[in-house]
């Protein structure tokens, strides 16, 4: 039937495959197939000797195609394609038969597993026998990067990329970059001031010639593909010109509207015209039009009146900018699980039950209480503070199943800071476990327990409620086996981290996946932690999962390095397994044109024509065409037909 000369190489994978699948039988059976010239087994095909055996066999037997029956193609398809190339073959003449993840690892019966492995391998042989040699399609790249999210992850990635010579567009939806890190007071384990370590980076971003900073902006849509994306970025109406604003505060002084300050987590108020933080970048005031009296000089207009710099313009309009970029880094960060979800802890009803970020604002010198730890309800100093870890985390039944990673450390930090502020106060921490794996972390926790005298109680809190002005905490100390009741002045909940609002929407816009908890999905949990499933889109920071600042910075730099590698070549290689039209059969009905998700097919002179650069090879066209006039190279209908025959043993 086929004039091809195929070699089949069956891997034992140590005992991973061989323990269940009789690999020698698989090789022997495949050796009987028409067109299979050579069929061998080997203990580790992906190893050097294994690959060399393939190369040698190709050369000695003049093979024109190879099938490797081994683990999932996600792992070693590239490896073996390169080995095949070394043997003188086109990489696409190599096919992988997955007899490990989809066979040996999931079945017990040796006979059945071996039979299935034979069918899978045979199917791969038929596919390989239908393959043609293909060369990657060269696509020019745009040497510009879009970073979505201006927290520490976005900032770090922006600096790394800009310093490598790439143009960067940093988009942030708030009026200032800095993210949640800007809200922190001190960072563990060194207790550095968060603003002190972050501000220099923020300033560097604002001054870097290669970075274009777009705040109050969101990415509306993204089209295109790796190396050649187009994005539409919408910027809100910017009423205060950052170039002109002198940050003199005259406007805020006359603004009649006061609203809760979201940067202080509602612990203070701000005016409709305000600056988010003293260290905001861009360094400018900003007008919140949802709080403003109406931008109508007849109604109000006080701020524009007093502004000497004439920086305020009520007629500003939202703008949309279209940009072309080669890669995207998504660093959209996290938010805290809402207190309102924890009914047993007061469901957000008590002013003195705070979450971690609110506590940070209390500790922060620029915060609601000038750096003094005071109760929000009556501004009295709390003498008994209870910290509750795992508020919402590690709770698969009701809240989040996962561990939020940083809470043990920041709770120790909070307890420690509290004791520094209120030396005669008493701090209690209710915990399940202590996770303090980073450098200096364990020592930090021990100091909190021993030096700062914080009482650590191993047990959960069942209920928190108000009684006579105190917050009553009912918990248990499992190490002594006793129930604990504390009349606290303040309770701080270490709320679970969750993906920031807007992450789900952004994932849809970018067409990248999310995992079961809504975090952005990485391409491989171990080997590709900063790549999304979509080529050209990378992940950094807590958007991908809970992590602390050192890990975030690491990931941001890692993502930057991936982008640098991607954009380092003049041309990108686009997978050549694209659709192809058999013109003689095409009647120009346009069904494929309508169906193509990438609009990659056009009707030219009455026949369908595929744009190979836009085509992603999904095959929707091929499944739709009633005439089999369009097919995807190396995944043709003939090949699938032969694979079905192989699977069915006919």
């Amino acid at each position: 039937m086929s004039s091809k000369r195929t070699g089949v190489f069956v891997c034992h994978c140590g005992t991973n495959i061989a323990a269940t699948v009789d690999v020698k039988t698989v090789a022997a059976e495949l050796g009987k197939d028409p067109g299979v010239i050579v069929a061998r087994d080997y203990v580790y095909m992906c190893s050097d000797p294994g690959q060399n055996a393939v190369i040698k066999a190709v050369k000695e037997n003049q093979l024109d195609s190879v099938v490797i029956s081994c683990c999932s193609p996600n792992l070693h398809e590239k490896t073996f394609r390169e080995a095949a190339a070394q043997g003188g073959l086109n990489g696409f003449q190599c096919e992988i038969a997955n007899i490990r993840e989809q066979c040996a690892w999931v079945h017990r019966d040796r006979g059945q597993a071996t039979d299935k492995a034979v069918r899978i391998s045979r199917s791969a042989v038929r596919r390989a026998q239908g393959n043609i040699a293909l060369d990657p399609i060269g696509v020019p790249v745009t040497r510009r990067v879009l970073i979505i999210g201006g927290g520490i992850a976005g900032i770090q990635a922006a600096l790394d990329l800009a310093n490598a010579g790439l143009e960067v567009i940093l988009v942030e939806k708030q009026p200032t970059i800095g993210g949640h890190m800007l809200q922190l007071s001190e960072t563990f384990p060194t207790l550095d001031c968060a603003q002190c370590i972050l501000s220099p980076k923020m300033v560097e971003v604002s001054k870097h010639p290669k970075i274009t900073l777009m705040t109050q902006s969101e990415v509306e849509s993204v089209s295109g593909f790796v190396g050649n994306f187009k994005a539409k970025i919408k910027t809100k109406a910017v009423y205060v010109d950052p170039e002109l604003c002198k940050i003199c505060d005259d406007c805020a002084n006359v603004c009649p509207v006061a609203v809760p300050n979201q940067y202080d987590l509602g612990l203070t108020n701000r005016r409709a015209i305000h600056i988010p933080f003293a260290q905001a970048i861009p360094a400018t005031y900003t007008l919140d039009d949802s709080a403003c009296l109406g931008l109508n000089p007849v109604v109000c207009g006080k701020c524009a009146d007093v502004c000497e710099a004439k920086a305020i313009n009520y007629d500003a309009r939202p703008t949309v900018k279209e940009v072309e970029i080669g890669a995207i880094v998504v660093a959209t960060g996290f938010d805290l699980y809402a207190k309102e979800n924890l009914g047993e802890y007061g469901a957000g009803r008590y002013a003195d039950v705070l979450d971690g970020l609110q506590f940070e604002r209390l500790c922060s010198a620029s915060g609601a209480t000038g750096g003094h730890v005071l109760r929000p309800s009556d501004h009295k100093e709390p003498k008994e503070v209870v910290f509750i870890q795992c508020a919402g985390s590690r709770d698969p039944e009701t809240h989040c199943a996962y561990c939020s990673k940083i809470c043990c450390m920041y709770t120790a930090k909070h307890a420690s800071l509290y004791k520094h502020h209120v030396p005669d106060g008493q701090a209690y921490v209710f915990y399940i476990d202590i996770r303090s794996g980073g450098k200096g972390y364990e020592e930090f926790v021990q100091r909190t327990m021993e030096n700062d005298g914080v009482v650590y109680l191993r047990g959960r809190v069942s209920k928190v409620y108000e009684r006579n002005g105190k917050i009553v905490v009912l918990g248990v100390d499992t190490l002594t086996g006793r129930n604990v009741e504390i009349d606290a002045d303040m309770v701080v909940l270490a709320e679970a981290m969750e993906p920031s609002t807007g992450t789900a929407e952004m994932a849809k816009v970018l067409k990248i996946g999310r995992d079961k908890d809504g975090w952005l999905a990485e391409a491989h949990p171990k080997l590709k932690p900063v790549e999304s499933v979509t080529a050209g889109i990378f992940l950094a920071g807590t958007a991908q999962g809970p992590k602390d600042i050192p890990e975030t910075v690491t990931q941001a730099s890692a993502a930057a390095s991936k982008v640098i590698a991607l954009l380092s070549k003049d041309q990108l290689e686009h997978a050549p397994t694209v659709a192809r039209v058999r013109k003689a059969l095409c009647t120009g009905c346009e069904m494929c044109v309508d169906a193509c998700p990438y609009e990659a097919i056009d009707l030219i002179d009455g026949k369908a024509v595929v744009n190979e650069v836009l085509c992603e090879g999904c095959g929707t066209c091929s499944g739709t065409c009633v005439r089999a006039a369009i097919d995807v190279k190396n995944v043709t209908q003939v090949q699938i037909h032969d694979m079905i025959s192989a699977v069915m043993g006919v």
């Binding site: 999904c618 739709t624 037909h641």
Partner: protein, 150 residues
């Protein structure tokens, strides 16, 4: 004139169904890989054929599998809205709905053709889908209606 076939629901314990499973590369095949990485165990009756997208599955593949004697055919893709190629699974859903209706109309047992959405994170679901399918096909017995007689 042939006698009309009587349905034989043989609960033949020796009967091992042969199922062809078309799995999309990005979700369902990855989900199947995850089931493997997690060492979940499920019956060996379903042999996978990896396609790029559930949208590329032509009705001919399913009919051909049945003609070649498949006892069951499974097509599995990404959840609607999560297709790696954005929309392929929506076309698959419409097209394969019609295939299922047509096969049912001519009297092929309804349970023999099945479609599922399995994401790359759903190793457990994949194992369950296969497990359920094999069990249901065993009740139906060997597929004789569309199998070509040689």
């Amino acid at each position: 004139m042939l006698n009309p076939t009587k349905a034989v629901a043989a609960l033949d314990t020796d009967f091992e169904p042969k199922i062809v499973a078309f799995l999309c590369k990005w979700c369902s095949s990855a989900g199947s890989d995850l089931a493997g990485v997690s060492r979940l165990q499920y019956p060996a009756n379903a042999v996978p054929i990896q396609v790029m997208c559930s949208g590329s599955v032509s009705p001919m593949y399913i009919l051909s599998a049945f003609k070649k004697g498949a006892d069951g055919v499974l097509v599995s893709g990404c959840h609607p809205g999560d297709c790696h190629y954005m929309k392929g699974n929506f076309y698959a859903r419409r097209r394969l709905y019609l295939v299922q209706k047509l096969l049912g109309f001519i009297g092929l047992e309804k349970e023999r053709f099945r479609m599922s959405w399995v994401s790359a994170a759903e190793g457990v679901k994949y194992a369950q889908v296969v497990d359920d399918f094999v069990r249901d096909i065993k009740v139906l017995g060997p597929q004789r209606r569309l199998k070509a007689r040689r």
